[in-house]
Each structure stands twice: as structure tokens, then as C-alpha cells.
């Protein structure tokens, strides 16, 4: 037997046996004994056998279908069909089991059900067998179709798209170019809208991929031109009831987004003006006879016809949008939140009308008109929409702030005249003038003038940065004190600000892995809620009402007693409450709203996440690897120690050495000259100079013969350095390069040079260790130097002598040990390692953001931003988890309550308006919780900056006297 069939057969047998077990278990519960149970089984063995066999066949087919799909790329529709088949099959099983229970239900007091299943034994059996057969048929068809599709494909094709033939083309050796359409969408209110649009657009022929982001209000559609047009895509979205327009850049996008949001706020605000006053009157009318209200509220307001007249404009005014949108959605095969609202409002309104005009119909009679349910339900939903429109605008505040930095006007010199032109018309190499208090229009290099520029909005640097000739300036930053002229180097979409905006937009439009789960839940939610509402209705209609209904029944938080309500009214009320209370809005908003706030917060500090997945990955890091040179250290040697021979002095020693090296082009010589100048020493030219390759220099300066070099130079010239060799060895042990100085043939001392640590490196590493991260350092340097640097930083794990091409494999090695690794590097040399890491952080990119690799770009050259990155990511993910927790808890608690789980104890039914109120509260909880992220302040902002650590920044140390 083929191995590929063994698993389906095993699962099929397991399914049959499980079902027989289930049958026996259920029947045994209600029967007197096991012998009685077996008697029942023997009596109806043919039925049990048919059902169990059918179920087994279905299980086997389903398993086989999954195998086929998994091996060949998968077809979503076929999986859905198979799942549907299994669902119908399972329904048939339950139906058949219930039929059997007809004989035992009276034993446990369920006589109503017993009567039902005995009376309708034949339809129940037929229904069970029919659905079983249907399920088998569906799956056989799916398997046949997929097998045929695979046979016609010459080689394993990529995921076969349901949209049509285009994806088959790669299989026969051709590629079709895709295009991407970026859209701005308004009118979305929750995750089900995302799911609706993704479903409807995704089903269009020629659409390869569609990603909709709720909080950003954007959609990115990849499509095959020629098969589908942008106009068709936009029309499909508009048919669903949303506004779709192609995304613009910069200020135009800002204006359009603001206009669209304002329109939505105005529209819902206007409907609130209708819904709330009328809803309030309906509520007063409903409660007219209660408490002290009879003294203030005229009796006529409680008249059912008046209530009908007041409620109707609400349902067909503000409420009409839900009916229209749900109809449009259903036409395209999409069930969204509008449908829940429409069914909820429609059902409450319908019951009210029936109880008004046909009071004896069995819906609770004239005393239970529910007008206030329809009215307040509409009012609460409109309020929710209004609040969402307001808060969604606030969520994208970071981008708006960045966009508002773009100046509209630039002052340039053209034809020797100073003119003002729109900032987006500045060209590369234009000469631009900036006065105090003005924003710099584009990126460039200062030609003349001097000023201090506030770059805090882009880089997070708190202090203004001095700018003089030769310095780079960034467009969008604020010129503070002086005036200067600069040459434009990057304009339009190339400027740092435009790149930052794009990066933040892309990050906010992307989806984190955790969001995909939430979207999946929210997207399928509406469908399953309707299935649940139907199941709840059928249960309470056929079984629950007869068994559990009590005349004490009341609607929660309303004056109604439901003593007179009939079976239909009761089951319908509970079914409607389930529909209304099951709002996936909070689930859908939980992740994107927190991601938007988190990435925006990070951007304020000059930290640019390239996607929401980077935020999630950064929050889960366990190890962090720093590239040494240029990341932890400055990447250029500097004088660290000056040790004069007994009787000598530091300044004299350094002055002589600098003078000898002033004409040198060797990096160590340059470091000594720079060190002398930094200490305010005048460095004059030597009278003579000779470089000795591999040894050092021989010079004559200030009338003295100077030798500066290594031991070999000293040995060649017979200079005895024994007195200072011990000190030299100590410094070399710290990874420093030591140069001996001899003056007039006698040892004068030594100078140590080393790559020095960047400011804040020690503080950043210390904090990361405190966060529980394993910190490692990666370098191509020799182990002794690397370990010396690591000791200063407090890093235990040193990966030394690693060739540039092997850096990625070192990252991989740590990942193999189970770590989630971040790599911090300069973004260009370390590109493979940054790409290999779970999170690659490119540090110190400055304005050249587009060139950077890695998942996170740190604009400033400040290691403390690595700490802030992890803090922001953790805070964001904490918020995401809190939001998801509240959203899921809300649904997990409220849905069973609405379905009547507690009814048998409390005799309370959730009213539709109560359900609407709870639904609004859940969305509000998530939104408010997210806004708390705005108060997040990184630890390093709360602490004063430490003074430079001795080993890292001290210009001279060791034997300095």
C-alpha cells in the first residue's frame, strides 16, 4: 500500500471509531446502564454504521486532500471546501446522535427535545445522510480538480492563485511583470473592513497580492497590468462603500488624508446630531412610566406610535449606511461589520414594529416594543464610528508631524538674483539661502556662513548642531541663530526627510506576524458570528425555550420583563444580542494602532523601523552583537597614554613626537599629531624627516635628534629601553600600539595609540546587559586588542579575527544556539551580517537612509539608541499584547453571556443596546490603552548623561605625570 494513503486511512478509521465512541458516550449518559446503551446500538446499528462510515470516509478524504495541497502548493478554496464538507458531515453526526438521544432524553427530563426528535426522526436522518453525502462529494470534487490542475502543470508551480491563469506562466517559463498600486482608503472602521477589502480585491482576476492597513488607511495592491486595471480595483473598493484614491506624496497626501478624515468626522458628527437627540427622546418615552419621569415627560412620548415615528428617522437616516454597505458587501461575497450592525438594528426595529402593530404575535406584546434598542444601538454605533475617525487621525500623528516639517518655500540664487520658489522646485546644485528662524528646504552642503541648527525632529538630538562651511544640512530642520548659504545636494523624494517619511509610512503600513493572526481571527469572525447566531437561535427555539424559559425573564438594564415573550421572540432576541456584541473591532485595532504609535515614537528619537515585523523581532531579542570598529569604537586611532621617562614631561614628549610626525601620512603618526593639537600644543615642522618602513621615523626637531618607532627601530639605533619596557608590555596587553621615543640617543618615553570607544558605549552595553541580553562583540582585529576593548565595555563574549565575509556565519552560529540575535553595524560593510540577524541595526546612517541595509536604521551615531530601540519595541509589543488580551477577553466573556450561558441562573437576557454599549467600550479601551504609549520615555532620557568613562575617553592615562 502506498505510504501516501496510510495516513488518510488511519485518520479515517480513527474518525469512525471516535464517532462510535462519542455516540456510546452520549447515549450512556442518559441511559440506565451500559447494557441498555448496547441495546440501543444494536437496534439502530445500521444508522450508526452509516454515519460512522460516512464520517470516516470524510476524515480520510480530508486528510488526503491536505496532503495533496501541501505537496503541490495549496489551493485555499479547496481547503475551504474540504473544511466545509467536514463541517456539514459533523453536523450530520450530531443530528443522528440527537435522534438516538430521543429515546433517552426523557430520562434526563428533556421531554420537548424527545418529542421533536421522535416526531422528526425521518427528516433528521435524511438531513444527516444528505449533508454527509454532500461533504464527501465536495471533497472528491476538490481532490479531482486539484489533481487535474497539478497534472497540467509541467513542474511544481508556485502557489496557484485562485485569480486565474497568470501564476501558471512561471511554470511554463515566463514571468509577467507586476505593478503596484498604492491607494488611500477612507471609511474603514475596523478589522473586518480590512478583511472585506482584501477579500474583494484579492478575488479580482489579475490581482496577485493585496495588503490593507486599517490605521494608516492605505492599501497596496500588486497586480498584473492588462488583466485588471487600477480603475477596476478602485471601483471594487468603492462598491464596498469605501472611498479609494491613489496615494499622493508629501503635503498633497497630508491634505487629502486630512480632508477625507474631516469628511468622515463631519458625516458621522451630523448623524450623531440626528441619532442622539432622537434616541434620547425614545429612551425617555420608553421609560416614561418609571421613577420620577412621569412628572417631567409627557405621556404621549411613551405612545408606541410616537416611538415608531421617532425611531424610524434614526434607522433610515444614520442607520441606512449600514444597510447599504452590507448589501454592497454581500453582493461581492463579503460579510463585514456593517452586516452585524444592519442585522442587529434591523431585527430590533422589526420586533418593535411587530409588537406595535401586531401585539399578539408573541414577541413580548405591546409592553416590549424595543424601539429604544434600535435607536440607541444606532446611536452607539455612530458614536463608535465618530470616535474611531477622531482617534485614527491621531494615530498617524508621527507622519503628519514629519510631513509638516517640509517647508513650502525656498530662497535660491538664480541668475545672480535672490528669488523665492516652491521648495519642491529646488534643483540639485541650486544655491540656497537660509536666514535665522527658517526651516532648511532641502539637503545640502554649507558653502559659507555659520549657524546652529535644531535637528531634534529628525534625529532626536536635544542640542542644536553647529554648521559651518563643508557641513551637511538636512532639509526640514530648523536654522536657529545665523544665516548661511548652501548647495543643494538632494531634493524632492531624495531628501533625508522624504526618505524618513517613506520609511515610517512603510513600517506603519506593514503587518507584524502577530497581526496576521489577529487579522485572520477578525476576518473570519463575522462569518462565524453569523453561524453562531444561527446556532444559538436554533438552540433556543427548539430546545432552550421549552427547557429553561422562566416568566421571571428580564432584559438587562431595561424595564422590560419578558414574561409574555414567545419562543420566536426570545430566540431572536438572544440571536441579535450575539450578533451585536460580537465586535472584532478591538481585535483588529489592537496591533496596528500600537504599532503605529510605537514606530512613530521611535521616529521621534531618530530610530526608523523598516517594518512592524522588526518591532516584534526587536522586542524578543536575547543576544546582541556589536561590530567593534566604527560601532563601539570611533574607528580611528587616538593617543591614549603618554609615559615619559623619569624626569621627562608629557607635553615635551608629545610635542617632539608630533613635530617628528607632522609630515607623516601613517595613521599612527596622524593620531599623534592630532593628539598634540587637541591638547593645545603648537606643532612645528621638523628640520629633517625620514620614514623607516616597518620601524618608525627619524627626524630632527628643535635641534634634537628624535627617534619614534617600535622596538626594532630602538634596537637598530642601540637605544636602551629596558627602563620603560615593562610599562610598554602592560599597555600592549591592553591592546594598544606602543611607540618608543628616543631623543639624542636616550630613551625619552613612550606613546600608546589605540582605537577609542565612542561616547556612551559603556553605558549602552551596561544597560543592554541589565535588560538580560547577552552582549557580544565581533571584530576582524586580533584577539588581544579585541579582548582589551571588551574588558572596558564589560562584554564577555568576543568574536575576534572574524573576516568580513564570515560575520554573517557568526550571527548564524549564535542563532543556531537558540538565540534571537540583533546585529549592530555601520550598515554598509556589515550588510550580510545585518541581513542574517533577526534584527539588523544600521547605526549612524545620518542622512543617507535609503542606502542602509538592516531592519532598523538609527539616524544618529549614538549607541544609546540601540537601547532605546529595544525599549520602544518592548513597550510597543507590551501594548499590543495588552490590547489583544482586552479584546479577546471582551469577546470571550461577552459572547457566551449574550448567547444565554448564564440565563439559567440569572434569567437575564442581554439587550441589544447593552450589547452595542459593550461593543463601543471594547474599542474605546483598546484606543485609550494605545494612547498611553505616547507617554513612553526611554530610560536614557530619564537619566542624565554620564561623564566620559576613564578608559574610553580620557586623552591620556597610565603613566601620565
Amino acid at each position: 500500500m502506498s505510504r501516501s494513503y496510510s495516513k488518510p486511512i488511519a485518520f479515517g478509521l480513527l474518525g469512525s471509531i471516535s464517532l462510535i465512541g462519542l455516540y456510546l458516550g452520549i447515549v450512556r449518559v442518559g441511559s440506565a446502564s451500559w447494557p441498555h446503551t448496547v441495546d440501543l446500538l444494536v437496534t439502530d446499528w445500521y444508522l450508526v454504521a452509516a454515519v460512522a462510515t460516512g464520517f470516516g470516509i470524510q476524515m480520510g478524504l480530508f486528510t488526503h486532500l491536505r496532503q495533496v495541497l501541501r505537496q503541490n502548493g495549496g489551493v485555499r478554496s479547496a481547503t475551504a471546501m474540504a473544511a466545509g464538507g467536514t463541517a456539514t458531515s459533523t453536523t450530520s453526526m450530531v443530528a443522528c446522535c440527537l435522534h438516538h438521544l430521543a429515546e433517552v432524553l426523557p430520562i434526563i427530563g428533556l421531554s420537548g427535545a424527545a418529542v421533536f426528535f421522535t416526531t422528526y426522526k425521518v427528516p433528521v436522518i435524511l438531513f444527516g445522510l444528505a449533508t454527509n453525502g454532500l461533504g464527501i462529494g465536495i471533497m472528491l470534487r476538490a481532490i479531482r480538480r486539484h489533481t487535474r490542475a497539478v497534472r497540467t502543470s509541467p513542474r511544481p508551480s508556485p502557489r496557484v492563485s485562485p485569480q486565474g491563469g497568470t501564476p501558471m506562466l512561471p511554470a511554463i517559463g515566463y514571468e509577467v511583470g507586476r505593478e503596484t498600486l498604492q491607494l488611500h482608503i477612507s471609511g474603514m472602521s475596523c478589522a473586518s473592513c480590512v478583511s472585506s477589502i482584501e477579500g474583494a480585491v484579492g478575488n479580482l482576476p489579475g490581482v496577485a497580492r493585496v495588503t490593507v492597513t486599517l490605521t494608516a488607511g492605505t492599501a497596496s495592491v500588486e497586480y498584473y497590468p492588462g488583466t485588471v486595471t487600477p480603475a477596476q480595483i478602485k471601483k471594487t473598493i468603492r462598491d464596498l462603500g469605501y472611498e479609494a484614491a491613489e496615494r499622493l506624496d508629501g503635503a498633497a497626501a497630508l491634505d487629502r488624508e486630512r480632508e477625507a478624515r474631516q469628511r468622515e468626522i463631519t458625516r458621522q458628527g451630523r448623524w450623531m446630531l440626528v441619532a442622539w437627540p432622537l434616541g434620547f427622546l425614545v429612551m425617555l418615552g420608553t421609560f416614561q412610566a418609571m421613577w420620577i419621569l412621569p412628572r417631567f415627560v409627557p405621556e404621549v412620548l411613551g405612545n408606541r406610535l410616537v416611538l415608531f415615528a421617532l425611531t424610524t428617522p434614526i434607522v433610515f437616516g444614520p442607520g441606512l449606511q449600514f444597510f447599504v454597505n452590507s448589501y454592497r458587501g454581500l453582493r461581492l461575497g463579503v460579510a463585514d461589520m456593517n452586516l452585524l450592525y444592519a442585522t442587529g438594528i434591523g431585527a430590533a426595529y422589526l420586533i418593535a414594529i411587530i409588537n406595535t402593530f401586531w401585539p399578539d404575535a408573541g414577541f413580548g406584546g405591546p409592553q416590549a416594543t424595543f424601539y429604544e434598542a434600535a435607536a440607541l444601538l444606532t446611536a452607539f454605533i455612530i458614536l463608535g464610528r465618530y470616535l474611531e475617525a477622531l482617534t485614527r487621525g491621531r494615530a498617524s500623528e508621527a507622519i503628519r508631524k514629519l510631513m509638516s516639517l517640509q517647508p513650502k518655500i525656498a530662497r535660491v540664487v538664480r541668475d545672480e538674483a535672490e528669488i523665492e520658489i516652491p521648495a519642491d522646485e529646488v534643483e540639485v546644485d541650486d544655491l540656497v539661502l537660509v536666514r535665522p528662524g527658517e526651516r532648511i528646504p532641502v539637503d545640502g552642503v554649507v558653502l559659507d556662513g555659520y549657524s546652529a541648527v535644531d535637528q531634534s525632529m529628525l534625529t532626536g538630538e536635544s542640542m542644536p548642531v553647529e554648521k559651518r562651511a563643508g557641513d551637511e544640512v538636512i532639509g526640514g530642520t530648523m536654522n536657529k541663530t545665523g544665516a548661511f548659504r548652501f548647495r543643494a545636494t538632494r531634493v524632492g523624494r531624495e531628501t533625508a526627510l522624504a526618505q524618513i517619511i517613506k520609511l515610517v509610512e512603510d513600517a506603519q503600513a506593514s503587518k507584524a506576524p502577530i497581526q496576521k493572526l489577529a487579522d485572520l481571527v477578525a476576518g473570519k469572525f463575522i462569518f462565524w458570528v453569523h453561524v453562531l447566531a444561527l446556532a444559538v437561535f436554533l438552540f433556543w427555539f427548539f430546545l432552550g425555550y421549552d427547557v429553561f424559559f422562566s416568566p421571571q425573564t428580564r432584559l438587562m438594564l431595561t424595564p422590560y420583563t419578558l414574561a409574555g415573550v414567545g419562543v420566536f421572540g426570545f430566540a431572536l432576541l438572544i440571536s441579535v444580542a450575539v450578533l451585536v456584541i460580537s465586535c472584532p473591532c478591538a481585535v483588529g485595532m489592537a496591533t496596528p494602532s500600537a504599532m503605529m504609535a510605537g514606530t512613530g515614537k521611535a521616529a521621534e528619537h531618530g530610530i526608523l523601523f523598516k517594518g512592524a515585523d522588526a518591532v516584534e523581532a526587536a522586542s524578543r531579542l536575547t543576544a546582541i552583537i556589536f561590530d567593534k570598529t566604527g560601532t563601539l569604537t570611533r574607528g580611528e586611532p587616538a593617543v591614549t597614554d603618554i609615559v615619559p621617562a623619569p624626569g621627562g614631561d608629557v607635553a615635551g614628549l608629545l610635542g617632539l613626537a608630533a613635530s617628528a610626525e607632522v609630515n607623516s601620512e601613517h595613521p599612527l603618526g596622524e593620531a599623534i599629531v592630532r593628539g598634540a593639537r587637541e591638547r593645545g600644543l603648537a606643532v612645528g615642522p621638523p628640520e629633517s624627516f625620514e620614514a623607516v618602513p616597518g620601524r618608525g621615523v627619524i627626524a630632527r626637531s628643535a635641534g634634537r635628534d628624535v627617534l619614534l618607532g617600535n622596538r626594532k627601530l630602538m634596537a637598530d639605533r642601540a637605544v636602551a629601553i629596558d627602563a620603560i619596557t615593562g610599562e610598554a608590555e602592560r599597555l600592549e596587553g591592553e591592546g594598544k600600539t606602543v611607540m618608543f621615543l628616543a631623543v639624542d640617543g636616550r630613551p625619552a618615553g613612550l606613546i600608546a595609540v589605540a582605537d577609542t570607544l565612542k561616547p556612551n558605549s559603556i553605558q549602552a552595553v551596561g544597560l543592554l546587559r541589565r535588560f538580560g541580553l547577552e552582549v557580544a562583540m565581533l571584530t576582524g582585529d586580533n584577539r588581544r586588542t579585541a579582548e582589551a576593548i571588551a574588558r572596558q565595555l564589560g562584554i564577555d563574549q568576543v568574536l575576534a579575527e572574524v573576516l568580513p565575509q564570515d560575520k554573517a556565519s557568526e550571527v548564524q552560529r549564535l542563532q543556531g544556539a537558540g538565540h534571537r540575535v540583533a546585529m549592530v553595524g555601520d550598515g554598509i560593510n556589515d550588510a550580510p551580517a545585518l541581513a542574517q540577524a533577526d534584527v539588523g541595526m544600521a547605526i549612524g546612517s545620518g542622512t543617507d537612509i535609503a542606502k542602509e541595509s538592516g531592519h532598523v536604521v538609527l539616524v544618529k551615531d549614538d549607541l544609546r539608541d540601540v537601547v532605546t530601540t529595544i525599549e520602544v519595541a518592548r513597550a510597543t509589543m507590551r501594548k499590543v499584547k495588552q490590547n489583544l488580551f482586552w479584546a479577546f477577553v471582551y469577546n470571550a466573556v461577552t459572547i457566551p453571556v449574550a448567547a444565554g450561558l448564564l440565563y439559567t441562573r440569572t434569567y437575564l437576557v442581554v439587550s441589544p443596546e447593552m450589547a452595542a454599549f459593550l461593543m463601543a467600550i471594547s474599542s474605546l479601551t483598546v484606543t485609550l490603552n494605545t494612547t498611553l504609549l505616547k507617554r513612553f520615555v526611554p530610560t536614557l532620557r530619564l537619566r542624565p548623561e554620564p561623564k566620559p568613562a576613564g578608559g574610553a575617553l580620557a586623552p591620556v592615562a597610565g603613566g601620565q605625570s
Binding site: 416526531t119 477579500g199 461575497g333 408573541g362 414577541f363 420566536f568
Partner: protein, 61 residues
């Protein structure tokens, strides 16, 4: 045949089965319940049928 029609037929079938099963109830409960079952079934079926039919149509030569 379009999704709306198929959905309507299937939902009607479900409503008829409901009405048959609820023959012991009052006419309001029986037919009102059948109407509610029809609405919910139609809502449940449409999102399944519309994409399914569209894909099926796309595959036909």
C-alpha cells in the same frame, strides 16, 4: 447561475426545513423563525458562494 440566486435557493431550502421542523409552533414563530433562518443562512452562504463561483468562472475556458 449567480451567487445571489444559488444563495437564495439554499437559504430558502434551509428556511423550508426550519418551517417543517417548527410545524408545532405558532404561525408567527414558525414563519418568523423561517425568515430569520433565511436571512442568516443567506448571509452565511454569500461570502462562501460569491468567491467560489467567481473562481470557478475564471477557470472555465
Amino acid at each position: 447561475m449567480n451567487a445571489g440566486l444559488i444563495g437564495t435557493i439554499l437559504a430558502l431550502a434551509a428556511a423550508v426545513i426550519f418551517a417543517a421542523a417548527a410545524s408545532g409552533s405558532t404561525p408567527v414563530a414558525r414563519y418568523g423563525g423561517a425568515a430569520w433562518v433565511f436571512i442568516l443562512m443567506w448571509i452565511i452562504l454569500m461570502p462562501m458562494l460569491a468567491p467560489w463561483l467567481r473562481r470557478r468562472r475564471m477557470r472555465e475556458p
